[in-house]
Symmetry: C2
Subunit: 209 residues, 2 copies
């Protein structure tokens, strides 16, 4: 699933409520409509969209169509003054790992699984904090780069291209798409920066030097 | 900023494109409309929404209103069969840390900042992978808990309540809101589970035992 599709899906409150509900238990249409106090027609439309995206699936049980969450994804969005990033990852666990986990946990009582879950949740929180502080550093460093570039480059287009290259090497087409600027203008800016000795080209990719 | 508001904002492709554009440089309205090939009226509406949410700010320069990203947030969404979580965090860096970073980096050339950024990005990626594997374990453990509960509890409501309690202790009202089930029904289910010796109450909170 791509990030744009997932964000479009999550941009609707009722779809978010459906996902939350289904994370508690599989439900049939009128049950969802009932619990969320939303008309069944609207629920059906949402379910259709969620199913087409592969986030939910349905199975027949006792003559009823039950919907359950099928997707296993993680979405991460970062918004900072010089940083905008969206990333979606499918979460997968290998069959061997799954078998190993089941063996490890099979003898545990619910209470122990509960403790193990708590441990994993706190590990997850620690990782999140570490990631947040890394992102704060990245954002601050990008601010510094933007200031530095503003001091050495007066042309707006050149400054914009240079800042984009700071975050990683790029081809002309990538820069053009990312900055919404025609490729010929980007190309001109790149060659001006090259003449100033600020960047170099290697195999059609541009690098800070 | 709450997660629902941020997801509503990010649910629109043009708003995402505006944020991406502004992450490259501050822009004025007609510049954004021009670059994204979207009418200025629509752009203004989006900018208004982004500004009210605190994600962007504007400043006057050369008689023009320039918009730039002001927010510094990170959003994380997890969707798995028995797990749905949304979390938004403000990313902050303390004034001392900011000063320290600037001192540390002030003597560096752009190329070195570039290297440092690359290092931070790869650290961020490693943390992300660790987090993904933790989430995979949590998701798998939740599957196991759900199966285990299905085997020992036949009543649907009781099973649903018990699974919710596995993820953490809860009050009646929290369960009612989360599961979209009236509080009196939840209360009945909780007492049935208590009689079966599966959960206990301590200071109005319910725990697995």
């Amino acid at each position: 699933m791509d990030s744009a599709q997932l964000l479009d899906i999550l941009g609707n409150e009722n779809r978010r409520r459906i996902l939350q509900l289904l994370s508690h238990k599989p439900c049939y249409v009128s049950e969802i409509a009932d619990r969320l106090s939303v008309g069944p027609k609207a629920i059906l439309d949402h379910l259709d969209m969620l199913e087409r995206a592969g986030l939910i699936e349905c199975s027949n049980e006792q003559r009823r169509k039950y919907f359950h969450i099928a997707g296993n994804v993680q979405l991460e969005v970062s918004v900072s003054p010089h940083l905008y990033g969206v990333e979606t990852n499918s979460i997968m666990i290998s069959v061997e790992e799954q078998r190993r986990l089941r063996q490890e946990y099979s003898s545990m009582a619910l209470l122990n699984l509960n403790d193990e879950l708590r441990r994993l949740h706190s590990l997850r929180r620690e990782l999140m904090l570490a990631q947040r502080s890394t992102q704060a550093r990245i954002a601050e460093l990008m601010n510094l780069c933007a200031e530095m570039i503003d001091q050495i480059i007066s042309d707006h287009l050149e400054a914009e291209i240079l800042l984009a290259l700071v975050t990683g090497t790029r081809r002309v087409e990538m820069l053009s798409e990312e900055l919404n600027i025609p490729a010929n203008k980007i190309d001109k800016g790149l060659h001006q920066l090259k003449e100033k000795g600020m960047i170099i080209e290697r195999q059609k990719k541009w690098y800070i030097r």
